[in-house]
Amino acid sequence: MSIDFLYPEFEVVRNMDRCITCRVCERQCANEVHAYNERLDKMVSDESKCVNCQRCVSLCPTRALKIVKSDCKLRENANWQNDGIREIYKQANSGGVLLSSMGNPKELPVYWDRMLINASQVTNPSIDPLREPMETRVFLGKKNVKPERDESGNLICKVPPQLELDLPVMFSAMSYGSISYNAHASLARAATEMGTYYNTGEGGLHEDFYQYGPNTIVQVASGRFGVHEEYLAAGAAIEIKIGQGAKPGIGGHLPGSKIVGDVSRTRMIPEGSDAISPAPHHDIYSIEDLRQLVYSLKEATEYKKPVIVKVAAVHNIAAIASGIARSGADIIAIDGIRGGTGAAPTRIRDNVGIPIELALAAVDQRLRDERIRNNVSLVVGGSIRSAADIVKAIALGADACYIATGALLALGCHLCRTCQTGKCNWGIATQRPELVKRLNPDIGSRRLINLLTAWKHEIKEMMGGMGINSIEALRGNRLMLRGVGLTEKELEILGISHAGE
């Protein structure tokens, strides 16, 4: 008996009247929770291994299973809560940094839920999106503000490179390595079908996916893994990753055990070697340095592709964004504190950064104030959960949104938050072939397409209600938002009035 023994977090409840001993749960659990006991002729469970991913629950053909949170808890204490105590036990035992996956689960304010959308009544007509055209297309990139003419007075139509999106949603960066080949295939196919983009993350681009290049954003991050000329040429845009919402200020570490086969080839590093992405880019210590990288990449791709700079939402994000907008970048992507991750130190994920809503409002306002808003497009991510979040983000000033956790949920993720183990039972955050095959991209891409299609309908409905018929007209239209239950300061930063005002 050890000091830090605690009763398992979850319990497997098996309805023995319904269990037919088909052993599907046993075969499907990579954590080896379920087993068939021949002597008893029944299924038994080892709850201590359960991560509550619900794979067994979903596949049990007789609905004989459920997973419940154990009620065997320590004495209630508002200050010292169970999870906190568990973490102390864990660290007292291991001496290590705590690791977590997916987005911040803490009860931080979600400002999306404190903002409400307007609708037309009487004095201005709403629009029925089923009867009238409703434009959801957006172009991301630097916009020409002043028309230029040649000597004979004709307009010079030299538009800087743009990304054309059929709807203002893209799949944000998730590397091949952190997620599976089939997850990437699903994202790539869905992005292509829906007229939007997915993002390689810092894992390089698998040779099989070059065919989706016109709908791919290729990322260049601090480790520069998988970056080469054809890679840059393959994508529709290049994203320089400075930071990530789930772990601002720190680098990444994909253990050597995951650098196998195609992952190693795609990242261009030897099998078994750790893939360590440094915390900073070692060649970027100033906006001027960033400008050099931006233009290096533009030079390498003949100025045909927009360059995105992605940063985490941190305290002085507005000033940072202003710098980026002056660096030559075409698009700024900002990732809020609730953004997901395949693995991050728990304390960083839960405590570093700021919510995306405040960051977005601050950045959009600052760029307008400095009259450089049209130098760049703004893309925001970090827990965009629905079409309503998207509409609110655009009204706050975003050009488009990045989604990742939402996309993974569509692919089957059940948010058990144990990506770091590499044993994802849904075939997403794993490289084990027998698990990877659980995600059939035919199904995965179809579900992503369904999700985006549904969201597109909802966006149109909400816009129609406001009497707005294009994303263009909604962007930065903060009059369409009202706050509820927000402080003066919050309203001020968000640049919106309170409901009732």
Partner: protein, 160 residues
């Protein structure tokens, strides 16, 4: 003709198809009631080697050797579907001896049964297909694909 096919790259080896098959052919409404505590006799079964798994059911061959070999005249092909007349079958297992895919097996009473595409049971569409969690098992037609039959009844598929 539409047949049940399995794409082995997506087969998880979960064996749900076997249980869905046994349930679909049980004539009962509740799976737990139909299958609990019983040995199942599915008409599809999962095969595996150390790398792959895949589910095997009747191919409904163009020129089925089981039909030719049945000593009771109990196996016939109707509208492209190879069917067993269980009243006529005496359970001699000659069909098991000849089927090159191992697609037939006796039921709990020693009488032969095989996949008849769920055409006559209450499911109406192959239960293995609708219950496959990964779309590994599909009900599709390969008619556009050129087929050829060797003299022994194996259906050979030639190219795309």
């Amino acid at each position: 003709m539409k047949r049940v096919y399995v794409n082995e790259e997506w087969c998880l080896g979960c064996h749900l198809c076997e249980y869905n098959c046994a349930f679909a052919n049980s004539g009962m409404d509740d799976m737990a009631e139909a299958l609990k505590g019983k040995k199942i006799f599915p008409r599809i079964h999962v095969e595996e080697n150390d790398r792959i798994t895949f589910a095997v059911s009747c191919r409904h061959c163009e020129d089925p050797i089981c039909v030719k070999s049945c000593i009771a005249g109990a196996i016939s092909k109707r509208d492209g579907v190879v069917c067993v007349d269980q009243d006529k079958c005496v359970g001699c297992l000659t069909c098991v001896l000849v089927c090159p895919y191992g697609a037939l097996a006796p039921n709990e009473n020693g009488i032969m049964q095989k996949c008849e595409l769920c055409l006559t049971n209450s499911f109406g569409e192959p239960a293995c297909v609708s219950g496959c969690p990964n779309n590994a098992i599909v009900y599709e037609s390969r008619d556009e694909v050129q087929t050829e039959v060797d003299p022994d009844g194996r259906t050979l598929y030639v190219g795309d």
